[in-house]
Symmetry: none
Subunit: 431 residues, 2 copies
């Protein structure tokens, strides 16, 4: 069963509101085994809405519409849907009474404009709205002269009203249509998803290491996405039965883990900081201090994003200027003059002093050129030195991160966490 | 000129990632007078991408595609676009060299899979990517046998790469195509938008103060949106001519400023930190130091988000534990025992010492309970004390922020910036 979600509203196509209804509906449908293949968003324009509905209904079995059911002049979904269905609009007397009593309960007369909300195309059914005045519409589309048929549910655009209506009035119909059952037909398959996260190597390298696992015809399917430098491996398992989907998902996740090894730092909701926090507190608690220049507090912010971070984090320094590095972290002025603030020798010194002054088990130090200014031919924007001090010695590395200021700062902090992660795993970092 | 945005990715149609690229592109296009009439999101499916491109190109003048340009097997936009254009795919030798040098600079061999990123449809042009390896594609679609033509720009799906490419390589072409000109026809009506930002009071208060300016029938229209605690006032002016739109936009913005006064901290791309940075460096440069407990570096991170922040920011301390507050910032253990770490007396002491030790003109200190644990009946989660030390004295305030850990930390840092902003304006903070 293929589904399409159509969202309606000027504020969406003009970019003033980010559409979150479509992704919410997609997740709900996936959980009952229905694959959404397309999202379409159109303006409050009657002809455009009609064209979107007619076109989409020809290429899917289930069409979920949200938005444009309100009482005002810019709510045009009812009218457009009626034309797409080629049926006359009729007054539903039951719903008119419901509307009148809704307003009566609030001690207000019903505005005339609300009367239109009791009108639906002939042959369609109303969907209850327990949170507002706009009922939904449940209709059957039969394609012009073909055997094509598509079930259409039109819901309000207000997220809270849409979600309630979907759960109370749409989901039960989908179950009747065979979704999410263990019937084992194609129509009622279950989709389970899982995600593995990596940081430090590019999407193409991850893709090469995954090899045939990424074959487009594979089920479970394996795909990669990139977000803020994190390359994630997304696995979608579509099977007739939930148990089979879960077992296949786990088996494919295992194959991905085999292919990528320690490049995978976590799964699903885990972040680099949460994984480092787990490693720091796994047996006995160990602590980490920070000494930051170009990241300006971002590394410490990431470490303290995690509830309970006071267990492993107590002290951090932000030494943005050379003078600050000398005054707060005893970096010798000669060293700064000789090697420059962005050098492995300087971050080594920063990390060592931070570790001593904090009495932490580990200290991470970062100094780099986040740009847009400050680059030189020898040290262009994106050059970042990171050091990790621990009881035995100090590790220092130089990186070259592409991107803008925000990107360079983000990657620098994540790489510092990654160096600590590999150290805590007792393995050399592969960078 | 009508535009359509097509976004590509399984993660989008399955609802695992919310599409924010489409709304960002819509806002950018609106600001140069191009109305986006539709967003389409399709899966990583070659036939579906081709159908979406071919269909959309027949009903718009400008098609912006994002996603599916990476080097892996699930990146299918290049291939689908090539088929939609009915042109052969050719290797671009220049870009192949660019790719090879991109990897060479990072001391790594180029994976074979990346070679495909140097392939484009014959007749198309490459768009530079300064942040990654996927170049964009600039192509002309001419409809089968009709006089229809549509300019197509395909960009990467990674938001930071897409935004940079749009601004650097797509926007200049749009200007050449006549966007934002004074053509003045209905088809080319100009939409100019402006946004004013406030922080510290709720959306309903802002709405009340704006009053009739928010009437739905007004043009320019005035609406409010909330994002991360910032209540923004969005003004959209739709007029036939650019000059009229600009004049009306400015006039309405002036009325909003009259209604909200100093609650407005900035407009459009300005952030609280950028506005504070501007105030700190307006006449002679003044400097600020930070002393953070619950925000764990977030305040310093915000201050150093701004290019050139080394002018006004040099030193910060993160004193997450009581011991750290005593050892690094000389907070008396008796004070901590008596008033608690989250108290106005403690943040006063933190701010004063940070100011002395840094020799900065100002110091901001934050201590609070970000949760989820650590709250008490007297000091529930969300209780945050903030101090501002300056040459004359120390100001301290206690706030109660609702929300989760991340929200409380974010609001705390923004409120600290806000206190400094009002001090720099020479006005008392209205909180």
């Amino acid at each position: 069963m293929k589904a399409i979600v159509v969202s309606i509203g000027d504020e969406l196509v003009l970019g003033q509101t980010v559409d979150t209804n479509s992704s919410w509906l997609s997740r709900e449908l996936a959980s009952v085994g229905i694959a959404v293949v397309e999202h379409i968003t159109v303006a409050d324009d009657s002809a455009a809405i009609e064209a979107a509905i007619s076109g989409a209904a020809m290429r899917c079995d289930l069409l979920l519409i949200n938005g444009g059911l309100g009482p005002t002049k810019d709510d045009l979904t009812r009218e457009a849907l009626t034309r797409a269905l080629n049926a006359p609009l009729e007054l539903n007397a039951d719903w008119l009474r419901r509307l009148e009593s809704f307003f009566a309960q609030r001690g207000r007369p019903m505005p005339q404009t609300n009367r239109v909300q009791a009108m639906i195309p002939r042959g369609a059914r109303l969907l209850d709205n327990t949170a507002g005045t706009a009922p939904g519409i449940d209709a059957d589309f039969t394609g012009g002269g073909t055997s094509r048929s598509c079930r259409i549910f039109a819901m309000p655009g207000v997220p809270s009203e849409m979600k309630l209506m979907f759960q109370k009035s749409v989901l039960p119909h989908l179950a009747q249509m065979g979704a999410g059952t263990d019937a084992g037909t194609d129509a009622g398959a279950v989709i389970l998803s899982g995600t593995l996260h990596t940081f430090g190597v590019g999407e193409s390298t991850i893709g090469e290491q995954l090899g045939d696992l990424m074959d487009r015809r594979r089920n479970p399917s394996v795909g990669t996405t990139v977000s803020s430098g994190v390359v994630s491996v997304r696995i979608n398992a579509r099977f007739a039965h939930r148990d089979a989907a879960r077992a296949e998902l786990e088996q494919t996740a295992g194959l991905c883990r085999d292919a990528l090894g320690d490049l995978i730092y976590g799964s699903d909701e885990q972040t680099l900081a949460s994984v480092v926090a787990d490693l720091l507190t796994a047996d006995k608690v160990r602590t980490v201090a920070t000494a930051e220049s170009c990241t300006g507090g971002l590394l410490a912010k990431m470490l303290t994003d995690i509830p309970g971070s006071s267990g492993y984090f107590q002290k951090g320094w932000i030494t943005y200027s050379n003078q600050a590095k000398t005054e707060l972290l005893d970096v010798a002025p000669q060293l700064l003059a000789q090697d420059g603030a962005v050098s492995e020798s300087v971050v080594r010194a920063m990390a060592q002093t931070a570790r001593q002054k904090s009495a932490a088990d580990f200290a991470l130090a970062i100094s780099g050129i986040a740009g847009p200014d400050g680059g030189t031919p020898a040290k262009p924007v994106g050059t970042v030195c990171i050091a990790l001090a621990h009881a035995q010695s100090v590790l220092a590395r130089t990186f070259h991160f592409p991107g803008d200021r925000q990107t360079i700062r983000d990657r620098s902090a994540k790489m510092a966490l990654t160096l600590l992660r590999f150290h805590l795993l007792g393995k050399p970092a592969p960078f």
